[in-house]
C-alpha cells in the first residue's frame, strides 16, 4: 500500500503540533498548511514594538513544522477572509471572532488544497469541548459537513470521542492509537508533549488571532462605526495593533506611538494620514485618521504634547504635516491629564 498523505492545519500552537506528530507516528506523510488572515498574532507586532526585539522572535507555525520535520505551506487568505469576518453565518464568539465560520473556511481551503495536491485526508488539532464556539461536540460535525471534508477530516487528539472517519475505516490509521482528549484541561496535551520531547512550544493566552481580543475588537468596531461601513484593508488591520487610539470627536481618531519602534512604523503612513511630531521635546509620532478642522489640529497637537516629554512644560512645539507634505508649526499647551476624557480611549 502506498503511503497515505495528510495535510495538517498548523496554527503554531501545541495542539496542531501534537496532532501532526501523532499522524507521523503512524507512518502517514504529513505536510502542514497555515492560513494568514491578517489578524494572526504571529509576526507583526513583534516586529513593530521595539521592546519585543530582545525576545527571540519566531513564527510558531514555521517552528512547529521544523520540529516535525514537515513542509509548511503558508497561504494568504486576507482578501477571502473579509467575507468570513463580515458575514459569519454562525455569528461571533465573545468578541469579533467568527470562529466557527473561520474553521469551516480553513478546513474547506485545506480540503481543496488536498484535492489539488493528491492528499488523502485533513487533520486538525481540535479537541472536543476546548473552545466555546468551534470546538464543541455539536459544532465539530458542522465543521466536517460544511467544509465539505466530511469523513476525510480527522482530529487525532479527540478522535475516539467522535464517529469513525474514513482514514480509520479504511485502515490508513489505527484508531486505537488516537486519543480521547476533551475539555479545557491542558494536562493530557502537556503529557503528550513531554512524551514526544517537545519543549518550548508556544502558549498563546487567547485564541490564534487578534479577533478574540476584547480591546482589538473594540477598535475594529469603532473604526467601522466611524467610517459608516465595514470595509477594511491590510493597513487598517495593522494600525489597530499599534499605538494608543484616542477618539476626541466622532470624525477623527488619533493613533499615538508608544515607543520608538511604533513611532518609526507610524512614520511610514505619513503620506496617508495627517501626522504630528514634537519638535521642542522628545515625543511620539501621532497619526490623525479622519477629517480635521484647524481647531481639531490644535486639539490633536495638545494631546500629542501630553504624551511627550514636555507634558509638564508651558508650551510644546509641534509640527503638523498634511499628506501632501505641507507642514505647519504649532505652539501648544499640553492637555492636562484630566482633560483627556476616559471615553476617548478606544
Amino acid at each position: 500500500m502506498s503511503q497515505r498523505k495528510a495535510v495538517a492545519l498548523i496554527s503554531g500552537g501545541l495542539d496542531s503540533l501534537l496532532a501532526a506528530r501523532v499522524m507521523l507516528e503512524q507512518g502517514i506523510h504529513v505536510e502542514g498548511i497555515n492560513f494568514f488572515t491578517g489578524f494572526c498574532v504571529e509576526g507583526h507586532t513583534h516586529a513593530i514594538r521595539k521592546k519585543d526585539k530582545d525576545k527571540p522572535k519566531r513564527n510558531n507555525a514555521l517552528w512547529s513544522a521544523e520540529q516535525l520535520g514537515i513542509k509548511l505551506h503558508i497561504i494568504d487568505i486576507v482578501e477571502e477572509y473579509k467575507d468570513v469576518l463580515l458575514n459569519p453565518k454562525h455569528g461571533y464568539g465573545a468578541n469579533m471572532n467568527p470562529c466557527l465560520d473561520c474553521k469551516i473556511f480553513m478546513v474547506n481551503k485545506a480540503r481543496q488544497w488536498a484535492e489539488e495536491n493528491g492528499f488523502d485526508f485533513i487533520i486538525t488539532g481540535e479537541v472536543v469541548g476546548q473552545r466555546p464556539m468551534s470546538q464543541r461536540k455539536d459544532t465539530m460535525p458542522v465543521v466536517s459537513r460544511e467544509s465539505g471534508a466530511d469523513d476525510r477530516l480527522l482530529r487525532p487528539l479527540c478522535a475516539k470521542n467522535l464517529p469513525e472517519t474514513l482514514p480509520e475505516k479504511a485502515g490508513w490509521v489505527d484508531r486505537d492509537r488516537l486519543y480521547d482528549f476533551s475539555g479545557r484541561n491542558r494536562k493530557p496535551q502537556m503529557a503528550l508533549a513531554a512524551q514526544f520531547g517537545f519543549e518550548d512550544y508556544a502558549k498563546p493566552a487567547g485564541g490564534c488571532c487578534f479577533l478574540t481580543d476584547e480591546n482589538y475588537s473594540a477598535k475594529l468596531v469603532d473604526l467601522w462605526d466611524a467610517r459608516g461601513n465595514r470595509e477594511y484593508e491590510m493597513d487598517d488591520i495593522m494600525l489597530l495593533k499599534v499605538g494608543r487610539h484616542i477618539r476626541p470627536a466622532p470624525h477623527f481618531k488619533l493613533i499615538i506611538g508608544r515607543e520608538d519602534g511604533e513611532n518609526k512604523f507610524l512614520q511610514g503612513y505619513r503620506n496617508n494620514y495627517i501626522s504630528f511630531k514634537t519638535l521642542s521635546h522628545p515625543g511620539p509620532l501621532t497619526l490623525l485618521d479622519g477629517v480635521a478642522s484647524d481647531e481639531d489640529l490644535q486639539l490633536a497637537a495638545q494631546i500629542t504634547a501630553r504624551f511627550s516629554q514636555g507634558k509638564n512644560a508651558d508650551t510644546v512645539t509641534i509640527e503638523a504635516r498634511r499628506t501632501n507634505g505641507e507642514t505647519v508649526t504649532l505652539e501648544v499647551k499640553p492637555m492636562s491629564p484630566g482633560s483627556i476624557q476616559p471615553e476617548w480611549y478606544v
Binding site: N34, F36, C40, E42, G43, H44, H46, A47, I48, K53, K57, R58, N59, A61, L62, W63, A65, E66, G69, I70, K71, L72, H73, I74, I75, D76, M238, G268
Partner: protein
C-alpha cells in the same frame, strides 16, 4: 540557472515568507533568489521556511533598516 530578486519591503511577517514561497514555486532547481525585507523577522522566518522546504540559504545580511536573504532553490516544488 538564473538569479532573481524579490522586493518584500514594507510587509510584515509572514507576508515576506508567503511572497518568497510563491516566487520560489515559479523557479527551477539551481536558481537563486535574493529577498529584501524591512521586517527584521524575515531574517529568521525566511531561512526557517527554506530549511523545512529543502532549500539552501546562501547568505543573510542585516543592513539595519533592511535585511537580505539569498536562497538557492534545491528541492523540486
Amino acid at each position: 540557472m538564473a538569479h532573481y530578486e524579490l522586493d518584500a519591503r514594507r510587509m510584515f511577517c509572514p507576508m515576506p515568507v508567503i511572497r518568497t514561497q510563491d516566487k520560489i514555486s515559479e523557479l527551477a532547481v539551481g536558481d537563486t533568489l535574493e529577498v529584501v525585507s524591512t521586517d527584521p523577522g524575515a531574517l529568521n522566518d525566511i531561512p526557517a521556511w527554506s530549511r523545512i522546504n529543502g532549500h539552501k540559504i546562501l547568505a543573510t545580511r542585516d543592513a539595519g533598516d533592511e535585511v537580505f536573504v539569498t536562497i538557492e532553490i534545491c528541492a523540486e516544488q
